[in-house]
């Protein structure tokens, strides 16, 4: 039996696992990736798209923190679009339709080019040394010793697929599930739960009457996700839309009892934001139609992803209810939609570094933390990878705060809130949304990335020049415009700083004289646009951003007041019993986290604040 000794073991090769393994390799520590199926590394198991509302912002954050998802998306995207263009610049969210096969291939190439070692196997238990993780044991009984372990098991832990009355034990359709690891973790003291998610049927392109569907194209001036993307000429392949109708809803209603969602076969909780079609039909009986998207899974693919029709109804009901929709009269499936139930571990058991609170060196990322989505998983994988590496190297951990990034918001939500359904990112989860724009990602995260060493030097240099450029432009805009210049763009009689002119509603930054918009020639056109718009945003939103900054300050103050892990909340006079119960389970690391635990009242906070300050004074620390 071969004995391995490595710095980090990454269990799982999905979006979390890939980011974790590659960033560990960037830190030049010995990295081993264990997967049950090496041919499935980087697989997009659900929709053929990356980014979207709030998720697109996260992909940019992944890019600046040194992750690979953004660049790979740029190389494999087949349609790019900025969503929410009319609704405000902070919610502009980039999204790309992606060639799934290409994406997978590019990811595998990156892993192969790196020093990450891949082995095929199934982890069934962990090894410990006192309360530190010391490695993993495979089903083959092979033991691998490691300083840190990152678990990214996705939907594979005791995964069960449901299609109508049929149940299949699998981690994904056609892939074996992982057994035993949940039980092992439970015996090590971790709490687990059950969640559910679903995927729609895949249709045969040739069976669709395309003339009945509406065309939906991407932007004509596409913007890439990654700052490191130099040449960017993606195709603009069309998607299409259709509407479900009353007739198909009737068929779904008639077969309601055959859906495991309603028959009680599924115990796990599904996401409300991504409801199955049977859910939508029942919850919104007034709607006589629902929008459906036909998305190609890869270039020239015959396989079409039917977005909006996630379902666990029996296959024949799925076909029957679709064939009454104009355009789908003769539709055939490559594979039916299905629901999958899997084990997850309530993430309140994690620190804000994504390391488990009770086992040092052990990190969890992705769906096993109760999240859904490629981007959410990748972001967590990246943070786990960075922190596992920093741990191996004996350096300080990376903590992302709510005011720095969507990733920070996500991690904080995960560790302080009850996970009742799969967690997905929304812009409304971020209280400082106006300050968390996709276009100001470097301004928010570059310093952190440089500090923890996760970013490549070449990207760092480019981003520094972008930030410098913004500073120069902002300074330049402080300069006065002559009345003649102003007269051309707005009703203002006297001379004024360009900044003030720009603040006027009807004025766009592009109206200003050229001297304000000068730019280094080496930056690509999309980046120039991006930067100029961001400077405009800063100025137009100045008043709001200032208010955000005041709120951020008070947030930061509370984050700095630490709470002991072994704090006996029951012994603090004045805390409500609900607060005692919640705080004792979640064990917040600082006052800010405690404040966001659900059910904590302002009066609980006052009591806790005083206790915490008192503690730190008596311990002689601040």
């Amino acid at each position: 039996m071969k004995h391995h000794r490595v710095d980090v073991v990454v269990v799982g090769g999905g979006h979390a696992g890939v980011e974790a393994a590659l960033i560990c390799d960037h830190y030049k520590i010995k990295t081993l990736l264990i997967t049950m199926d090496p041919s499935a590394i980087g697989r997009m198991s659900c929709n053929p798209a990356i980014g979207g509302l709030a998720k697109g912002q996260m992909v940019r954050e992944i890019d600046v923190l040194g992750g690979q998802m953004a660049a790979t998306t740029d190389s494999s995207g087949i349609q790019f679009k900025i969503l929410n263009k009319k609704k405000g610049r902070a919610v502009w969210s980039p999204r790309a339709q992606v060639d799934k096969r290409c994406y997978e291939k590019l990811v595998l190439e990156k892993i192969k080019k790196s020093s990450v070692e891949i082995i095929t196997g199934e982890v069934v238990s962990l090894l410990y040394k006192k309360n530190r993780v010391a490695g993993v044991t495979l089903r083959s009984l092979e033991q691998i010793y490691s300083k840190t372990v990152i678990l990214t098991a996705g939907t594979f832990l005791s995964g069960t697929i449901h299609i109508g009355e049929r149940k299949i034990n699998a981690g994904r359709m056609g892939e074996e599930r992982a057994e035993g690891l949940t039980q092992h973790l439970e015996s090590a003291g971790f709490k687990s739960g059950r969640l559910k998610t679903g995927t729609p049927p895949r249709l045969n392109r040739k069976s669709i009457n395309w003339s009945k569907a509406d065309l939906s194209l991407g932007d004509t001036n596409p913007v890439p996700f990654s700052y490191s993307t130099k040449t960017f000429n993606p195709t603009n392949e069309p998607c299409h839309t259709l509407y479900s109708n009353d007739e198909s809803h009737q068929i779904i209603k008639k077969n309601r009892d055959r859906s495991p969602m309603f028959s009680g076969d599924i115990g796990g909780v599904g996401p409300r934001y991504c409801p199955s079609i049977e859910d939508k039909v029942f919850k919104f009986p007034d709607r006589d139609s629902h929008l459906l998207f036909l998305e190609p899974e890869w270039t020239n693919s015959d396989q079409i992803y039917l977005n909006g029709f996630s379902t666990s109804l029996p296959e024949e009901t799925q076909i029957e209810s679709l064939r009454v929709i104009p355009g789908l009269e003769n539709v055939d499936f490559f594979r039916p939609g299905y629901a999958i139930e899997y084990d997850f571990f309530p993430p309140s058991q994690l620190k804000n570094t994504l390391e488990t609170k009770d086992v040092s060196g052990l990190f969890f990322a992705g769906q096993m933390n109760g999240t859904s989505g490629y981007e959410e998983a990748a972001a967590q994988g990246l943070v786990c990878g960075i922190n596992a590496s920093l741990k191996v190297l004996g350096k300080e951990q990376l903590v992302l705060t709510r005011d720095s990034s969507y990733i920070g918001v996500m991690i904080d939500d995960l560790i302080t809130k009850d996970t009742l359904e799969p967690y997905r990112m929304f812009t409304s989860r971020a209280e400082f949304r106006l300050a968390l724009r996709y276009s100001n990602t470097p301004d928010r995260l570059l310093e952190k990335a440089v500090e923890c060493g996760s970013i490549r030097k070449s990207l760092e240099d480019l981003l520094l020049s972008v930030i410098k450029q913004k500073q120069n432009m902002r300074e330049g805009l402080g300069g006065s415009m002559a009345p003649d210049e102003i007269k051309k763009i707005t009703h203002l009689k006297h001379s004024a700083p360009a900044k003030d002119v720009l603040k006027r509603n009807e004025v766009s930054i592009w109206d200003l004289p050229k001297r304000y918009l000068e730019y280094p020639p080496e930056h690509p056109a999309w980046l120039v646009n991006d930067t100029i718009y961001d400077v405009e945003s800063d100025i137009k939103y100045e008043g709001y951003i200032k208010r955000c900054i005041v709120e951020m300050r008070s947030l930061r103050k509370n984050e700095k007041i630490k709470l002991q892990n072994d704090l006996n909340y029951g012994a603090i006079p004045g805390l409500s019993s609900e607060a005692i119960e919640k705080l004792s389970t979640i064990k917040p690391e600082n006052l800010g986290q405690a404040m966001r635990v659900s059910g904590i009242t302002p009066s609980d906070m006052a009591v806790l604040a005083i206790h915490a300050v008192k503690e730190s004074v008596s311990r002689g620390t601040t």
């Binding site: 929709n47 979207g52 509302l53 709030a54 969503l83 929410n84 009319k86 609704k87 405000g88 610049r89 919610v91 939906s216 839309t241 996401p271 409300r272 934001y273 991504c274 409801p275 939508k280 919850k283 919104f284 709607r287 629902h290 929008l291 998207f293 977005n307 909006g308 996630s310 809130k417 929304f426 812009t427 409304s428 989860r429 209280e431 949304r433 106006l434 509603n505 939103y541 709001y544 005041v550 008070s554 103050k557 603090i572 006079p573 004045g574 805390l575 966001r596 659900s598 009242t601 302002p602 009066s603 006052a606 009591v607 604040a609 005083i610 206790h611 300050v613 008192k614 004074v617 008596s618």
Partner: protein, 440 residues
């Protein structure tokens, strides 16, 4: 905002010879100068007699201003203490002017909390401060729910619910709708909701201005079986012939109120219809009002006599049992703290007055700042209104930037949160999920 300048009355609420108003925080000196309409710089421990103006520039009083420079003050911040005449109306006007200048009303226990956080208190005091704040906020919650006009809390809740539904409609646009073109419809829907809630804010603010909520002091309610002498007692206490007194049981079919001041405490004395098992239709209404009054009472005087039993099953905050008609049945043995009087002959009234005062002190033992809840409510509603107006202005534009509107509505909701509990992002998302067909 942690270190905003706060203001409140430091002396107990009510009429007295002197009232002290305390300002603490970064702008305490500035705001004090604003109240006196002067701009002379002040030194630590300087004490001067200055005129006091309202925000309209009208002189309302004069008072001693004492300045404490940080860190040499109670809270460790800049502090100004103003001693003025102890008239609740004057105090209210000074507080209003301070708020106009940019201060905010102090939370219960906030001065003490700041003092502790600024290291002005020893460690051993910390625990008691925590417990104090906890108990004060319990009282504050009690007052929010019960003592303050229940109706205004309810209206504020209605406004908040309206704002949450407006916000969730916008968040649906920002977070969910993607390609569906519903923005126009959403905007007109949101404008409708906001207009509606703006009107609600307006009417609430004018009701506060009328002083209805503010002027009502402690509520002392007299209850008892018919003909036990409630009205006689009321008349005796008030010293005015206001209630109709007669021998027929059930004369006072409605509640009768009278405002008076005992030892500087403003009191609303309420005489109620007698409670008995059987009553006619006219009385039924009166009895219902009695029950309602008991619910709002700070103190209930439960009257009984040798031939009438006390009203049982009453659940009130503070109750004093009073045995009336002592002149008719002299040697009756009384339980513990019951008070023996004859309302008709005026005997035992001194003792009752003392017991009443003790009970009032108990009910009102926490510091004055809790009592200005309605004033704080009004401030909240006013800042809520101003955010609603900003949102509406933004929505009037040709291509409204809805993410900014969302920010303003969130601010509006935030101003109501201090009364109704924090609104979390989950509350908004829950509303989105329950009201809209969400997701691809």
């Amino acid at each position: 905002m942690e270190n905003q300048t706060i203001v409140s009355q430091a002396t107990p609420f009510g009429y007295s010879s002197i009232a002290v108003i305390r300002l603490s925080g970064e702008h305490a000196f500035l705001f004090a100068s604003g109240l006196a309409n002067i701009s002379t710089p002040r030194k630590h421990l300087e004490s001067v007699l200055l005129p006091i103006f309202d925000e309209g520039g009208k002189r309302i009083d004069s008072g001693i201003f004492t300045f404490f420079k940080n860190p040499r003050s109670y809270t460790g911040e800049d502090v100004v203490e103003i001693s003025c005449h102890g008239n609740p109306l004057i105090v209210k006007m000074i507080l209003n002017h301070s708020l106009f200048l940019g201060a905010r009303l102090a939370e219960p226990g906030e001065y003490t909390k700041r003092a502790f956080l600024n290291g002005k208190m020893s460690l051993s005091q910390a625990e008691s401060v925590g417990a104090l704040i906890a108990s004060k906020s319990k009282n504050a919650i009690y007052y929010n729910n019960k003592n303050i006009e229940g109706a205004s809390t309810e209206s504020i809740n209605t406004i908040k619910e309206g704002l949450i539904s407006a916000l969730s409609a916008i968040e649906y646009e920002l977070d969910i709708s993607e390609e569906e073109d519903t923005l126009h419809k959403t905007v007109s829907n949101v404008v409708k909701i906001l207009n509606n809630n703006n009107l609600l804010c307006r009417s609430l603010i004018s009701s506060f201005d009328a002083g209805v909520a503010y002027s009502s002091g402690f509520r002392v309610v007299i209850i008892g079986r018919p003909n036990v002498g409630k009205s006689t007692l009321m008349n005796a206490l008030v010293g005015l012939n206001r209630s109709i007194v007669s021998d027929a049981a059930g004369t006072t079919r409605d509640t009768v109120t009278h405002d008076l001041i005992i030892d500087g405490y403003p009191i609303t004395m309420i005489d109620t219809a007698g409670v008995r098992e059987v009553y006619d239709n006219i009385e039924a209404e009166g009895v219902q009002r009695t029950t309602c009054e008991m619910g709002r009472a700070d103190i209930v005087l439960s009257l009984y006599s040798h031939d009438t039993k006390p009203v049982d099953n009453i659940d009130v905050k503070k109750q004093i049992n009073v045995y009336n008609k002592a002149d008719l049945h002299k040697n009756k043995k009384l339980s513990g703290s019951d008070i023996c009087i004859s309302a008709l002959h005026g005997t035992g009234l001194e003792k009752l007055n003392k017991a009443l005062m003790a009970a009032l002190l108990d009910v009102g033992s926490f510091s004055g700042d809790v009592f200005i809840n309605t004033e704080r409510q009004k401030q909240s509603v006013m800042s809520c209104e101003s955010s609603i107006l900003k949102s509406l202005a933004l929505l009037k534009k040709e291509n409204p930037v809805v993410e900014i509107v969302a920010y303003e509505i969130k601010t509006a909701i935030g101003s109501l949160d201090s009364f109704l509990g924090k609104t979390t992002t989950d509350d908004i998302l829950n509303k989105v999920f329950s009201s809209f067909c969400v997701g691809k």
